[in-house]
């Protein structure tokens, strides 16, 4: 191709691209990998929202929740993201501190087991952390009982994984100043600590441990997707720590109205009914048709534990030190 023909082609392509862009606005949503994978909620959510918005919804997967926030911090105010979806309450204090987020402005009737009043971050789903083991095997009834037993568990590292951090907060919320005793008691139960959820769950399924730190909803996956009822979540007397997954709107978004529209859409039935069997979590606002069959078999903890975003941020470093000291003996 000569230069003379090449340049007009490039200009033409650029014009087409610009034209297409002008017609359909693009909404960029940064999220974690498993949300946007083909088994996650991403594809269905994209189709459902694009039916109503006359826009192009683009998910950008960025590792897990923590990596997602780090990505945003790397990009800073010039980020292309309009929405960040997939942070949890252990991360929202740090996310807020970036000053990049704007109030969500949505008034929704949420079905969380706790009251929600964060003006910046809006929940899209939630779940209880729980140890998941095999049906018919010994199941301790509390963290204390687990610590006293010789049951073998695998957990995630709170320094590299959000469930790992969740367990740290769970022990802290349940035991406060005595958290280090629990960790000292758990030390001989812990087969190993993995960098992330996938490795831990993989080790559990390979039979390396009697149980793994996951969610009360994990057995629902095996039951509904694999028709395998052999996995159970252990109910603990101390209560179960909550993971509330939230989305927030970037203050610097160039699609502010569209971002608002997405956040409002996020708590409608069209979005929420996708969540249970794709993200394997509870929807933040239970849809009119209720939860899918199989969810009624799941453990309902007697008590929900959750540290506020500020408390979680405040106790984190000390709790990490306790954890490391107790498990390094």
């Amino acid at each position: 191709m000569t230069k003379a023909t090449f340049l007009p082609v490039v200009a033409g392509l650029a014009l087409c691209a610009a034209g297409a862009w002008a017609e359909t606005p693009v909404l960029q949503v940064y999220t974690y990998d498993s949300f946007t994978s083909e088994w996650g909620p991403g594809p269905a959510v994209e189709a459902a929202f694009e039916e109503t918005c006359a826009c192009d919804l683009q998910f950008v997967g960025a590792g897990d929740g923590a990596a997602l926030l780090a990505r945003l911090q790397l990009e800073g105010p010039s980020t292309d993201a309009d929405i960040v979806l997939g942070l949890d309450t252990n991360l929202t204090a740090a996310a807020n501190a970036t000053g990049l987020f704007a109030p969500h402005g949505v008034n929704a009737d949420l079905s969380l087991p706790i009251a929600w009043d964060d003006p910046d971050f809006l929940p899209f789903d939630w779940g209880y952390f729980a140890f998941v083991g095999n049906k018919g095997e010994a199941a301790p009834a509390s963290l204390q009982e687990l610590a006293d037993s010789d049951i073998q568990i695998v957990i995630q590292d709170p320094r590299s994984s959000t469930p790992g951090l969740g367990l740290l907060m769970w022990v802290k919320a349940a035991y406060g100043d005595e958290a280090d005793d629990i960790w000292a008691g758990l030390a001989d139960n812990i087969v190993t600590v993995t960098p992330g959820w996938s490795e831990a769950y993989g080790l559990f399924l390979e039979g390396e441990a009697d149980a793994v730190l996951s969610y009360t909803t994990s057995p629902a996956y095996h039951l509904i997707a694999e028709e395998d009822a052999s996995k159970v979540a252990w109910g603990f007397e101390e209560g179960h720590y909550l993971q509330v997954e939230v989305a927030g709107k970037l203050a610097g978004s160039d699609q502010s109205a569209l971002a608002d529209q997405f956040l409002a859409f996020m708590v409608t039935d069209a979005f929420q009914s996708i969540i249970p069997t794709t993200n394997w979590m509870y929807p933040a606002a239970t849809p009119a048709e209720g939860l899918p069959a199989g969810f009624e078999t799941l453990l309902t903890p007697s008590k929900a534990l959750l540290l506020s975003a500020d408390d979680a941020a405040a106790v984190r470093d000390a709790a990490l030190d306790e954890w490391r000291t107790a498990l390094s003996q």
């Binding site: 498993s34 946007t36 083909e38 998910f59 590792g63 292309d80 190993t192 960098p195 997707a225 390094s328």
Partner: protein, 509 residues
């Protein structure tokens, strides 16, 4: 190099390659440090992590290298059916994504693995892999093949004439040839493995059994992902480079150059036989240790391979193209650098090993983000970074051959009026086909299995096979993930085998 003893010189391609390596290692570190807000230094936990990191790396490197010597020696002096397939297969652990290899190991040595099954059947107490010994064992599993290959190259580089000479003198091959060769080659192999283990993260944590097994790389991960403390990440990455520098200095002091004259590239004949049964025992032991976990990966992956989602095949195609580009780049850079030679190249040749993959990724992101959308550059950057990360291995494999060829033919070629390009094409390249094929194969295979950079950069339709595998695991799709792991193993090995075979096609003159 100011005082090159050689007449024929070609500097700028080497300088270009060297500059790229510096940019991707120290440059990315600089980019991270530049963005950092510096608060406080290292915590006691960081010092504990440094201590653990160095200790496990020393143990892993020492054991891998010591075990590799008898294996390489046995392979060097025995010819048997399947030898070349065995050598290729033995390279597999090194090329695997960590989690695949770890799961393979656990199916043998884990709590419900074959070993414990056997022990329980015999009524013996169980064996726990979790702990310091498990970390070292996994690192030996990963690196014994690499050490064996590096040392085997040394054996194969001994010219046939010297074996003939030694035999005619009725002298000891070990005294005269093998020990000096090992003194020249083994410290380098030790250094490479020490540095690989220095930046270990997931293996150490998963098999270490808890936070005792915290490595510097995990501390970097925490600093970058959870604390967003770029200063601490940069500081820790700097410490990794410092450790690397210390190790490299010690090793360079210890190793001696092999200064015998060159040969005529004849086929090696051996007159010293040694005990054949002992050699076969050594080879069998290594083959069993390395291949059992691989067999388990195949066994585990087969059911999932049948109905892999289409997206995984696309990811595989993407990975193959990245791997091919990376292999080409890596070989080109390695030849350019080896031709240039000298201390600078020696430094450039180990820097990528000491670099933290996370810091490279983050730094590259910071460098690219102001200019363009990182997702658009994802595959290019992945190929570049992987070529750089594989460079130390390719360079290490190439250098002895290129040095020898330069030493032996420089004056002759100069007197015939050869220019640098002609010298490289006609004299050097034919002589280093074998290590070049090995290096390119290694670069391709390493690039197939890499997860570091792409995880940060990849946009929607750019996931590579390892990333697709991790995403499958994250979505409870463990069976498909195992299938993808097997596909990855197969593709990595095939790429490696094709390049390696290509390099050996005309190796025997």
């Amino acid at each position: 190099m100011a005082h090159s003893p050689f007449t024929i010189k070609l500097r700028w391609p080497g300088a270009l390659a060297g500059a790229l390596v510096l940019l991707l290692t120290l440059g990315t570190l600089g980019a991270v440090a530049w963005q950092a807000e510096w608060v406080g230094g290292l915590s006691p936990a960081d010092y504990a992590a440094i201590r653990f990191t160095v200790l496990q790396a020393l143990a892993s490197a020492a054991i891998s290298t010591m075990l590799a010597i008898p294996v390489a020696r046995a392979l060097a002096r025995r010819q048997f059916r399947g030898r070349s397939i065995l050598i290729t297969l033995l390279g597999a652990p090194f090329l695997l994504p960590v989690i695949v290899a770890v799961l393979g190991l656990l199916m043998i040595f884990g709590r419900s693995g074959l070993l414990n099954g056997g022990l329980a059947w015999l009524g013996l107490p169980g064996f726990s892999i979790y702990g310091f010994h498990g970390v070292v064992m996994a690192h030996v599993f990963f690196n014994l093949p690499l050490a064996t290959r590096l040392i085997l190259q040394g054996w194969l580089a001994i010219p046939a004439e010297r074996f003939r000479l030694t035999a005619s003198l009725n002298a000891s091959v070990w005294q005269l040839l093998e020990r000096p060769m090992l003194r020249a080659v083994a410290p380098g192999a030790f250094l490479v493995i020490f540095l690989i283990c220095l930046t270990s993260f997931a293996v150490a944590l998963t098999l270490g059994g808890g936070p005792r097994a915290t490595t510097v790389e995990l501390a970097i991960y925490q600093a970058l992902r959870f604390d967003f403390d770029l200063g601490r990440a940069a500081l820790l990455a700097g410490i990794q480079f410092l450790l690397c520098a210390c190790a490299a200095l010690v090793v360079w002091r210890l190793s001696t150059a092999d200064m015998l004259s060159g040969g005529m590239d004849r086929r090696v004949q051996r007159w010293d036989s040694g005990a054949a049964w002992l050699d076969m025992l050594v080879i069998s032991a290594a083959a069993i240790f390395l291949s059992l976990p691989l067999a388990m990966i195949v066994f585990r992956g087969l059911p999932g391979l049948v109905d892999l989602p289409v997206s995984v095949w696309w990811a595989a195609a993407r990975s193959i193209s990245v791997a091919l580009v990376s292999a080409l780049l890596c070989s080109g850079m390695a030849v350019a650098l080896a031709l240039w030679g000298g201390r600078f190249v020696a430094v450039v040749g180990v820097l990528p090993l000491a670099a933290s993959g996370l810091v490279i990724g983050t730094g590259a992101f910071l460098l690219i983000y102001p200019v363009m959308n990182p997702a658009k550059a994802a595959l290019v950057v992945t190929a570049l970074v992987n070529a750089t990360l594989a460079l130390p291995f390719a360079l290490r494999a190439l250098e002895p051959g290129i040095d020898t060829a330069k030493r032996d033919f420089d004056r002759l070629a100069a007197s015939l009026g050869f220019g640098p390009w002609r010298f490289a094409r006609m004299i050097i390249l034919p002589r280093v086909r074998r290590p070049l094929g090995f290096g390119a194969g290694l670069a391709a295979a390493l690039s197939m299995g890499d997860l570091g950079v792409i995880a940060l950069f990849a946009g929607d339709a750019q996931e590579t096979l390892p990333l697709a595998m991790y995403r499958l695991m994250g979505a409870y799709q463990m069976q498909s993930a195992a299938g993808a792991g097997l596909l990855l193993l197969g593709l990595s090995l095939s790429l490696f085998w094709i390049f390696d075979k290509g390099g050996r096609a005309h190796a025997q003159m």
